[in-house]
């Protein structure tokens, strides 16, 4: 009987070590794997490279790890918020590194990492500082830049419902980067609000097939 369930968030992140590269799902406050991140904060591992749309804010998400000084580098699309964040302060003080990526390129690079695509050409970024140093190519009269895949040692994502095979569905805009991040890490860990029996999820509506998920932990619905 295949069962990918872990008893707790702490157990699920129990082998993440110093220096790991980790994808974190979430956009704004939607779809953040809060319980897994809290467990990672308790674990206290250091020198992490985070791959996440933003760099945390308001004491949630990656912000916890940033404040804890566990982050060495972020790959992100939206690091600066209206309000100044701990990440911004550490970045301006030269204490953390940042690789800034346009959001579509960020999502597509993660997909490429999970889909065996070695690299792809995109128009996004052409003519901007973010294309500097990147290989260019004119295809059918339009200018493109070459982008390479993103992969991680671990992906931490949040889903709505999941089953012991690792099948997942999401809710609303909490889906965001979860489905593609799940495909692009050596080990994908999903926290779910509700664990259901195998066979309860409609096969036509499963968003993340279980093949992509290594560990699943039920965390309940946030209050």
């Amino acid at each position: 009987m295949v069962n990918k369930c872990y008893p707790s968030a702490t157990a699920a992140v129990g082998d993440i070590g110093d220096g790991a590269t980790i994808m974190f799902g979430g956009f704004g406050f939607c779809g953040i794997p809060d319980r897994l991140i809290e467990a990672l904060a308790r674990r206290g591992v250091k020198n992490l490279t985070g791959i996440s749309n933003n760099c945390g804010l308001g004491g949630r998400g990656v912000d916890i790890l940033v404040r804890n000084r566990q982050i060495r580098k972020m790959v992100a699309t939206f690091p600066a918020q209206r309000e100044r964040t701990p990440f911004e302060e550490q970045y301006l003080a030269g204490q953390v590194e940042l690789e800034l990526v346009p959001q579509g390129t960020f999502a597509e690079r993660i997909r490429a990492g999970g889909a065996g695509v070695g690299g792809f050409y995109t128009r996004t970024g052409v003519g901007t500082p973010l294309a500097e140093g990147k290989e260019r190519r004119v295809i059918a009269g339009e200018e493109y830049v070459l982008e390479f895949p993103l992969r991680a040692d671990f992906a931490l994502i949040h889903a709505y419902r999941g089953d012991p095979y690792g099948n997942l569905i999401y809710r609303g805009t909490a889906r965001n980067f979860g489905p593609e991040m799940a495909t692009a890490a050596d080990v994908t860990i999903a926290e779910v609000e509700e664990l259901v029996e195998v066979g309860e999820l409609n096969p036509e509506a499963v968003i993340t097939p279980g093949i992509y998920v290594d560990r699943i932990v039920a965390v309940g619905r946030a209050p």
């Binding site: 800034l100 346009p102 999502a107 128009r123 996004t124 003519g127 809710r171 805009t173 593609e180």
Partner: protein
């Protein structure tokens, strides 16, 4: 007192660019106000880059759902006939040129339609989000912004001094003072705000404006 359109009125004027059945992405700032300016009876599908096609109005107080938020983290609803998808699918939609229009905020726009809207160099760190994808992905790029900075410097310039979001990508600029089209031969002043003259608008603009033969007052 400063003249020209209010932010709400800029949004209202931008909303006049919408047509029946269009698929549109609205950026942060003034563009989010466009949501409330869509003419009654017009069906427009609003896309949100983190995975909604068919963004609806904000929920009634007390009915906010933390799983349904827009790119500015404000609670939203979805309309009947909406669809939800992942960010990668959303940007495949954007980058594949399926959106009819995007309405974005800006720091600067150049005479040839270059856009700078993601980083104030003095701050030392900027957030791109989906803007770089939208400017090449949407079939039409409309920019809404104040015509000049708080210090009174033009935001419409010969050449952007801020880092670019995209090159030669803007089609139309709507400000508190004017509506300006980015044509093949440069900027064309199409409309001026009530009480403004083309001369006054030109004086507050850092690039040469040609006058449209149909130059008129902005009506909102």
């Amino acid at each position: 007192m400063r003249g020209g359109l209010t932010r709400q009125e800029i949004a209202k004027r931008a909303a006049q660019e919408l047509r029946e059945g269009m698929y549109v992405n609205l950026g942060m700032g003034i563009p989010t106000l466009v949501t409330r300016c869509i003419p009654t009876g017009l069906t427009v599908f609003l896309q949100s880059e983190h995975g909604i096609l068919g963004l609806g109005p904000p929920p009634p107080p007390g009915q906010e759902d933390p799983d349904f938020a827009d790119a500015s983290r404000m609670p939203v609803t979805v309309i009947p006939g909406a669809s939800l998808f992942s960010s990668a699918e959303s940007f495949a939609m954007i980058r594949g040129r399926h959106l009819d229009m995007t309405i974005l905020g800006a720091f600067q726009v150049s005479a040839r339609g270059d856009l700078a809207n993601w980083m104030v160099p003095e701050r030392g760190v900027g957030s791109i989000g989906g803007a770089m994808d939208l400017v090449y992905g949407a079939r039409r790029v409309v920019v809404t912004m104040e015509h000049v900075t708080k210090d009174g410097n033009p935001r419409i310039v010969e050449r952007c001094s801020y880092p670019l979001t995209g090159r030669e990508c803007v089609d139309l600029i709507v400000t508190d003072l004017a509506v300006i089209e980015v044509g093949n031969d440069g900027l064309v002043l199409k409309e001026v705000a009530p009480g403004e003259t083309p001369q006054e608008v030109q004086a507050k603009t850092g690039a040469k404006l040609a006058l449209s033969p149909e130059l008129r007052e902005i009506r909102v």
